[in-house]
Amino acid sequence: MRAFRSLAWLFAKLALRDPTSVFFSLALAPALVVLFGLAFRDAPVALQNGIGAMDHQLPAIAAWVFAMTGLFTVPITVLTRRETGTLRRLQATPLRPATYLAADVLVQLTQALAGLGLLFAVGVIGFGARPTGAPVSILAAALLGALAFLALGYSLAAVLPSSRSTLIVGNLLAVPMLFLSGATAPLEVMPQGVRDVAAFNPLLHAVTLLRGAWNGEPCSSLVIEVAAVVALFVAAALVAVARFRWEV
């Protein structure tokens, strides 16, 4: 337990010292909200039953930030530590892999949720976003989405050979995931074939789940989304734990 606390506390301090990490986890998403808010104000979206543009887009940006964390921040952090020999040095101590992973996940999760809090605060205070869903549901949906994409990040880190390959694989995954998520262009205007493919996109389900929770949709109408995000979490976490490696 002492090892876990010490490691988590250290990783938190190191994350705050890293300008890139602070920018991507805490500053980027609120900045996107500001840009989006200035462009659209709170005009109602015609396609979405009169939900305000900000209430429509805010949860999507949140899910998108989780995806970026999972596709880039986590694998690059883990792989850099593996490539430099940081993990090897830790391996030579009694530290268990599970303790290391738990401390690292806790810090990444806290960082992701802090970024989410800022994002929502900017949307609500600055641009009149008004969640109609229960705070508990919103938090639960956010937690689930964050955990699923963090797990994806650790599974990529476990499987990919180097931090360079992360950039390639991350981009290859990020572009279609984003395009087919409903966070950029509405899927409703796309051909059926594209929508069939999009059904396998975890980011689409995370976006729909967060949007639903934010806008007060009943849980019963989000069963598929919850199942899809949980499935991503379970599959990715299994890969991450089974394939964890201290060294290159």
């Binding site: 606390r5 490691l7 250290l10 020999g85 391996q91 101590t93 009694p94 268990r96």
Partner: protein, 310 residues
């Protein structure tokens, strides 16, 4: 005295490459044990098998009575490790690193004392990335010592250090030994092994080619001495080789090294050289070193030595 570690018939392959082949030795409690040899001799592999970082293909290893692979967590509580290639998380500071490592062990040592011991107490707040090579290596020693381990493993401790850094590191090794811990170190500097180690295992191509105390290894070469000098003008190698007691003559450009055997031979050779009328300079008589043992046991020759053996 109970031994600190034992290795029996250990072998390790990487694909088709045999890194370590049928190696056996014992490390006694409280000694400084050197694993020496050229790069690629299998030194790091054998060390990592003893530390429990690698699983041997064959053979039996015991450290402090434990199997380093199957009982690795129990063992790691009691050993301290400095790796040849290691790093710390980016942006970490000296004090943070040593505190973190203290916290990873059940027996939490004193991080401050560890920093004082390696002379880094005043660099506590410095970023690890800003340390000099020598300071960085001392920090890694502090990380290996913070929990007061019973056996300390040091892999290529002084590679890349300047002379002062190397001397500081040597002092630390002697300090560890004086406090009663067993030290196992690898090095490709024979001088370092000669100065630090009680016993030395010389490795070549994955096998032990010699194992004994430094003194006995050197004595095993017999009463060999080397007469080294730089000559000015022509010198007939064959005439030198023909002098009584001369074992071999080697040349490094103008520098000639005459290996001789037998009491008083060095003096007689020097006199004989003077009588030939060849002017020479920078004459030195050297006793053999661990390097000579290494060269004799591995059949290797000094780089650039182009003279055939007598």
């Amino acid at each position: 005295m109970r031994s600190a570690a034992s290795v029996e018939r250990l072998s390790k392959r990487y694909g088709s490459v045999r890194a370590v082949e049928d190696v056996s030795f014992t490390i006694e409690t409280g000694e400084v044990f050197g694993i020496v040899g050229p790069n690629g001799a299998g030194k790091t592999t054998i060390l990592e098998c003893i530390e429990g970082l690698r699983r041997p293909d064959e053979g039996r290893v015991r450290v402090l009575g434990l199997d380093p692979w199957c009982e690795r967590y129990a063992l790691r509580e009691r050993i301290g490790v400095q790796l040849q290639t290691a790093a710390l998380p980016e942006r970490i500071r000296v004090g943070e690193a040593v505190t973190l490592f203290a916290d990873l062990y059940r027996r939490r040592g004193d991080p401050e004392a560890a920093l004082r011991r390696v002379g880094l107490a005043d660099r506590r707040g410095a970023a690890v990335a800003h340390l000099s090579g020598g300071q960085r290596q001392r920090l890694f020693i502090a990380l290996a010592l913070v929990h007061e381990p019973e056996v300390v493993f040091l892999d290529e401790l002084t590679t890349g250090l300047d002379p002062q850094g190397r001397r500081d590191a040597w002092d630390l090794v002697r300090d560890i030994r004086e406090r009663g811990a067993t030290v196992v170190l690898t090095t490709h500097f024979m001088e370092e092994a000669e100065r630090l180690c009680d016993r030395v295992a010389i490795f070549d191509l994955g096998r032990v080619v010699a194992l004994d105390t430094v003194g006995r290894l050197i004595a095993s070469l017999g009463e060999e001495r080397r007469v080294a000098f730089t000559h000015i003008g022509a010198l007939d190698d064959a005439a030198v080789r023909a002098l009584p007691g001369v074992v071999r003559v080697e040349r490094l450009g103008d520098r000639v090294v005459v290996s001789v055997r037998g009491a008083g031979t060095a003096g007689r050779v020097t006199t004989a050289l003077e009588e030939t009328g060849v002017a020479f300079d920078d004459l030195r008589v050297e006793r053999p070193t661990l390097e000579d043992v290494f060269l004799a046991r591995t059949g290797a020759r000094l780089p650039g030595a182009d003279a055939p053996e007598a």
